[in-house]
Amino acid sequence: MSKLKSATAVQAGHSLGRRIAKHWEYYLLLLIPIVITAVFKYAPIYGVQIAFRDFNPVDGFFGSEWVGLKWFERFFSNYNSTRMITNTVLLSLYSILWTFPIPIVLSLFINQLKNKKFQRVTQTVIYAPHFISVMVLCGMLRIFLSPTGGLISTLAQFLGAPANLNFIDSSSAFRTIYISSSIWQDAGWGTIIYLATLSSVDVSLHEAAKVDGANTWQRILHIDIPVLVPIIVIQLIMSFGSLMNVGFEKAFLLQTPLNKETSEIISTYVYEQGLLKAMYSFSTAVNLFNTAVNIVLLAVVNWVCKRLSDVSFI
């Protein structure tokens, strides 16, 4: 060790105490983030045990009576529980199926735009909806889908749909509305990561292919797509990894008493039972079930990907 002369190596030679002392400023800087994470992330994780207790505010997280699996049993005996689980999974699955491939295809086309100014304008325009809040998006959807004079309803009627069709209240339209608006809002934004990867491709590779007589289409197929594969796999794992965490916000804002048959998902139920009805323990139990399913999914997907392609993220 004494042969090494760099500052770090000399440092490593000291006792742990000395090394800690030498870095005290970093611990000072980390103090607030660590405390905040402990209080607002770890304390609630500890508090998850109220899912197995009958929580009351006086006795707190660990003083309330232990009731075992009572809340889980209540959830599964609820006639709506299967519907909620199905809704959550289907909404998520359909979302991934529709929203995942579009940014990839889009980025391959954008990357081929030769006029860089046009390319930049395209990007600016398609990023725009990402910066609109879910609240405003849902407000727009409600206006556009209004049976009286709404932009989309008018268009649908023009295309032959019956008049006065109320899309917002229709449970069969909910998923379509949810997913197509997601595509509108985030497909453009989703191209960034792929475009960034594509811009790292060596230009000479494309030049060489051109000399060999490859057309644009062939170059996309044999140069661009292979470059994107690893990042596509990682993105795919991540989307499946959060399958059960499908967005609360939009489902909640698009939910009406009439479309609950498809719009009621686990997260909206957790909110309703927990905060509106103050059924703290029950709501926590439902959420815990959701998290547990999600973690199992994450592990499975990660394992599959590791086997298939040697790409994993945990």
Partner: protein
């Protein structure tokens, strides 16, 4: 078949691809931008004209009454001020903590570095969920306080990883060594050398965090009971989702129910514009940094 006709006309398949590509992008841009344009047009048109479908391309019978009524509404004005304050404070606190943590995590010599990182990363995959977090916040008497909107989100672990990777890969270690030889302490090196070098990454984080706070209503829905403390987006909920125009907006109106309904629509369009314009104006200025924010994070250490 197509190829042969193309060659006859002197067009290569690449040329056809290009033409198709530009046309496709033009169509996509129209599809993306038109709804926003329509809302803007409708917000300054007579609502009867909007209803009649006369405002697809240009405003008809222009009026700014919608905006006048929106800004007269105290809930909107207050929401605006609240949102500005929450966004500024939230962005400063969150970005400062995130960059600082990322920097510390990039120090390979720091004892317990891996353990501390694990401590943060764990929270990306596991969390207590809605109610336990709510109970902690309420126990700490933070309900109705701006801190309830900022602290439970904590630091963004993903952004910590991005920052850490940035410092590890983009800042040469010799710079730090030179600084320490010059007698600069650890804190001095951080503030005087590392932070100025991290400007691009800070810019990305500021814009992402800012947009997050400006557009947030979910945290406020949970933690804010006092309507006077609602951020703009939550104030908009009443108008856009619950479709109740506030009484002060509807005040001094002649005409009956139909008239009221039309005014309500006008207010909706105006409030959408009012709620979205700040972020839509801001993002093109930092657009060049977006790719950086994603690529740096993708290089996983």
């Amino acid at each position: 078949m197509k190829e042969t006709t193309a060659k006859k006309r002197g067009l290569s398949s690449d040329r056809i691809f290009d033409i198709f590509n530009y046309a496709l992008m033009a169509v996509i841009m129209i599809v993306v931008a038109y709804p926003l344009y329509y809302v803007l047009i409708a917000s300054i048109s007579n609502p009867y004209e909007v209803y009649a479908g006369h405002t697809f391309l240009l405003p008809a019978d222009m009026t700014f009454e919608g905006y006048a009524r929106v800004f007269k509404e105290p809930a909107i004005a207050m929401g605006y001020l609240n949102s500005i304050w929450y966004t500024v404070l939230g962005t400063v606190v969150t970005v400062a903590m995130t960059i600082t943590t990322g920097y510390c995590m990039s120090k390979k010599t720091l004892p317990f570095r891996r353990a501390i990182m694990l401590f943060f990363v764990f929270t990306m995959y596991f969390n207590g969920g809605l109610i336990p977090t709510y109970l902690v916040v309420s126990k700490l008497q933070l309900l109705d306080s701006v801190w309830a909107l900022i602290l439970p989100g904590g630091i963004s672990v993903y952004n910590v990883i991005v920052t850490r990777t940035f410092f590890e890969t983009s800042v040469p270690g010799e710079i730090y060594e030179a600084a320490s030889i010059d007698g600069s302490g650890n804190l001095g090196t951080y503030f005087k050398i590392a932070l100025p070098l991290a400007k691009p990454i800070i810019a990305v984080m500021v814009i992402f965090t800012m947009v997050g706070y400006w557009n947030d209503w979910y945290q406020a829905l949970i933690y804010m009971n006092d309507k006077a403390k609602y951020p703009l987006q939550l104030a908009l909920r009443q108008i856009l989702i619950q479709s109740q125009a506030m009484t002060s907006m509807m005040g001094n109106m002649d005409g009956g129910y139909a008239e009221a309904n039309k005014i309500k629509e006008l207010i909706k369009f105006a409030s959408i514009v009012v709620g979205s314009v700040p972020m839509l104006i801001a993002y093109p200025f930092v657009q060049k940094y977006f790719e950086k924010g994603f690529t740096v994070g993708a290089v996983k250490g």
